[in-house]
Symmetry: C3
Subunit: 473 residues, 3 copies
Amino acid sequence: MSGKKLELAPDRFFDPDPAQRRLAVELYEAAAEMPLICPHGHVDPTLLSDPEASFGSPTQLLIIPDHYVFRMLYSQGIALESLGVPRIDGGEVETDHRKIWQIFADNFWLFRGTPSGIWLTEELVNVFGVNEKLTGESAQRIYDQIAEKLATPEFKPRALFERFNIEVLCTTDGATDPLDHHKAIKASGWGGDVRPTFRPDAVVNMMMAGWRENIDALSKISGVDIGSYGAYIEALENRRAYFKEMGASATDHAAILATTAELSMAEADTIFQNALRGAITPEDSNRFGAHMIMEFARMSIEDGLVMQFHVGSMRNHNPVVADRFGADKGCDIPVRSEFTNNLRPLLNEYGNDPRLTLIAFTLDESTYARELAVLAGHYPALRIGPPWWFHDSINGMRRYFDQVMETAGLYNTVGFNDDTRAFPSIPARHDVWRRASADWLAGLVVRGMIDMGDAREMVIDMVYRLAKRAYKL
Amino acid sequence: MSGKKLELAPDRFFDPDPAQRRLAVELYEAAAEMPLICPHGHVDPTLLSDPEASFGSPTQLLIIPDHYVFRMLYSQGIALESLGVPRIDGGEVETDHRKIWQIFADNFWLFRGTPSGIWLTEELVNVFGVNEKLTGESAQRIYDQIAEKLATPEFKPRALFERFNIEVLCTTDGATDPLDHHKAIKASGWGGDVRPTFRPDAVVNMMMAGWRENIDALSKISGVDIGSYGAYIEALENRRAYFKEMGASATDHAAILATTAELSMAEADTIFQNALRGAITPEDSNRFGAHMIMEFARMSIEDGLVMQFHVGSMRNHNPVVADRFGADKGCDIPVRSEFTNNLRPLLNEYGNDPRLTLIAFTLDESTYARELAVLAGHYPALRIGPPWWFHDSINGMRRYFDQVMETAGLYNTVGFNDDTRAFPSIPARHDVWRRASADWLAGLVVRGMIDMGDAREMVIDMVYRLAKRAYKL
Amino acid sequence: MSGKKLELAPDRFFDPDPAQRRLAVELYEAAAEMPLICPHGHVDPTLLSDPEASFGSPTQLLIIPDHYVFRMLYSQGIALESLGVPRIDGGEVETDHRKIWQIFADNFWLFRGTPSGIWLTEELVNVFGVNEKLTGESAQRIYDQIAEKLATPEFKPRALFERFNIEVLCTTDGATDPLDHHKAIKASGWGGDVRPTFRPDAVVNMMMAGWRENIDALSKISGVDIGSYGAYIEALENRRAYFKEMGASATDHAAILATTAELSMAEADTIFQNALRGAITPEDSNRFGAHMIMEFARMSIEDGLVMQFHVGSMRNHNPVVADRFGADKGCDIPVRSEFTNNLRPLLNEYGNDPRLTLIAFTLDESTYARELAVLAGHYPALRIGPPWWFHDSINGMRRYFDQVMETAGLYNTVGFNDDTRAFPSIPARHDVWRRASADWLAGLVVRGMIDMGDAREMVIDMVYRLAKRAYKL
């Protein structure tokens, strides 16, 4: 009745050397008990605002919304329509969730050795109690097993939030979001600590579709009539105050390049007025964006919100997919990044001010040792975010530890964040980080670079304290 | 009579951890039995077209034609003339092969820990049965031993082809090559599967010396009077059809930059007509080259030939050497590469079409994790070639596995190719890949990231199936 | 009375695998006996010219002058004033050395796992015999212990020079330095071999503050009236001859970019005359700098001085710190580098001449495998310097071995230099290199890539012979 046995090795992801592994296990066990701090991610707050919310079918939970999963299937020639990914035009896509699940299971071997494969496997075993490998043969049995679990109260989002031992979870929310779901969570009396994060990209990036409408929405929700750059800044500050009141401790900003540059009020206003009139060039939009990053740093110094800066992702590289299925469909591709020159204006102006915490994330690992570790090892305001996106993996973490820590020092990093919209994958992602951290520290101990006393402190810093402190949680 | 003993450790290149090594040996043993698939390389087909062809002296076999070998000696101040490398002007160079061999042996310690050192050692032991280290002292004894073997029928190229268990070997051939040697091989009734590969660089790159003459040769051999861009395209398609008829399954294209961009027919024709008249600028040549890469992708979709794209080698960096000794003399130096922006026009136009297989090779490892793995993990048409040239080494492979596989997935890679003109080094090169693959997989198993069932499949994929499938062999 | 015990593991920094570690220990023991060759560094020669010179207090020795140390404290919000770093304007800073030491000790945990932490710990144990961990609690006891030692004759700089077994130490000295301290050392009859290195940046870089005054100083000390480019070259050659007479075997040159380009005499003179009149543009300064690198290569061919080229550090990134505390205060940040194109003019002109030894240093590790290893594996004149600055660490060395050695070959590298102004850290820095080298070689042996006979030669090459040979010491 059952297929190939599926088990997770208790000492998985640790170096095979017995001496290092023994220490890694000891360090991991201490780390594994700590609650999860989730300071950055993309969980939909509606899952938690409605106590009766549910995840839907196994396919709705694990495949349709997860671009990590369907990008790999797509890369091997499987149409997104056949995976039930909704089309923008409402056109036909597969709706039989068992059929989609079967395609996924038939091709699950494509994920061998990938982080998605590891997270999915951990979810199957640890969240859903599956004990056979997912293959074409076992597909429907496993579907049944997950579907059955998902129908029970123990598998409602709030129940999993508690079971996962999440101490705090931050969502990511547009500047114009009324945060009704966060209000509902607070009002519900449920004890889960769920906080918004202020992400104003859609009202900053003038080339983004809908910018003009977003400014109107910002006007409306802030009650500030945005006819000038000054009013725009006022409206943003107003929204930040509201987010902060709602529990936010951080903001988040994305850009292809890390460029920062201060404009005069007059220049900023001219560009802004032009943009309001629809007369914006890519150059002006970029200059304005570079300026706004500096403005947001100034605001952070004033209101104390921690500033996250995600650099280097070219969005919607593939217009065929983006036009048909929309944004966040696996066609965001990293580009080379530069921080030493680009961050200089911001760091010169605000980087010596310890009231600012600027957390930089990169998709260009060549900047780890060359630029970010050195900058963060000097400027009081700068910290380096954990390995991001494609680098949130065993090897990605190993490269990060290898290339960042010696120069930046552990204490200029900020622990881990899971950055996911796939709620049930949260524990698996943190577990990978915890194991990778324990293994890295065990490697330092067994090489005589630190002692176990240090390592025991450091592992708790890495999985709990650093994130909490950096994000002021 | 004999010098320092030379032996190959049976478990060489594997991690020293006993648990990992045990698994690596098991996986390697399965891989070692598979025939060699050689989908890309530079073996001279005349070695195989004439049943009586021979390799000449040990020096002719191992030193004079191998720029991997003489570049290292040259870097330490040994003149290429003293190594018998022929001069373009026919000027005097060393002709005493024993004397050259002696210089090589005296300096063989320079190759300690290098891939060339490893390949040469493997050849000495496994191909020629040498069992003492190559030093100044042992030089002439080993020369005798190799020379004696080379004089026997067992050491004719075809005999070695069979002994090496080569299932298929693809050569690399200019667009104007009549493929007479491939015809002769077919006609000879010998069973070896030797196929041409269509490499049109010399009729595409307008700045390359001889381009005009090459166009004339293309006219002649295709029977198409190339007076226009349209006729040029027709001639190329004609040659591709001929190559395909002769067994070719792939094309190959080289460029310093990965730029792709579509020109209008009118623009392409203008540049082409100018070039015919000798009025070409580097800018126009680059634009034309970027356009032709897209044209070749279109042709590949139509005729099914797999498209290889080798990016990032600056040819003949050292004019002192290039002017005296010609091309391919060890003075090709990599430059930084960029794929996310540069391949975008091509991928947007053709990258969603699963009929296209575009295999990208890079010499810039910083593009592995940042660009290529992400692009190949999304676009159905794109695959990543194995570690190329200077990275075809134990560490180069380890870095490739580390940086490519988690994001691209193994199944968006294409196995191995030896890319060599040094025919007797083929088994040594494949053996390094097989051992590195087995060790990488053993490392995943021992860390609980995959199980042995997966690893046993994956190792055969890596050493046999992936190349065969990607190249349609 | 004593705090947490502090011990150095005898087999520290070696791989935990018992087989590899056993071999590493054997190789290390052979290496550890060799004298120290220090061909590049920033030790103040006054420490050695005056037999009675002393290091001052523990704080003066280990904190105030060491930007590796205070940059990390500064990055965590500790003011440089509170660490006693002198201000340019002579303004008030902390002068109580025990108080500064206490801050350092309270925060010493910030250095966990960093090279600075490792060097400092090694100095405490091996130079000063400290056997408890440095913490806030143990701070003043350890201060007493070091201060007591520093007051004894055994801890004078010359005594430590001998105890450290330094065979030769090269300082770094401006072109206008009279080298009086080197003269005094020679005249004193003391046997220590201390040599100057010719570093002309301050008379080359026209944008550097004080360039005009430095030219006057150069005029004066060389006795050449520098009214023209020709006279300038003559003055430089004159100084090189003097440095050589004083024992110098090398020069050193720094640049943000590796650009090299030859100007005509007329162009060079025009730019030079403009600069003398204070009419210099950044572009002209860069062009002149690129030209002078080529000129210095020509001079090196003529006078035999080895040429060092340090590329990629943006100096004084943080003007707030630089304006208040001056240069070399931890705010130098690396930028991306390029060598293939930039070094081409120089290498084409002089790179085939084995009389030239050009040693290139990079802070951009992405250039190791892609550019420098390939260039040095071809051009007879080019060698690759050891991992520099932020990369002079266990992981930095491992990445260097991994990415440089296969392609360049060990024999196109130049061993180690400690590059430090922190005199008592010299043995610790060499020890890290020796251990890392032994471990790397042991890893090759245990993987069957070289044999122990080779490894025993290579380890002595790496810790002694290569540096001595490359720098002609």
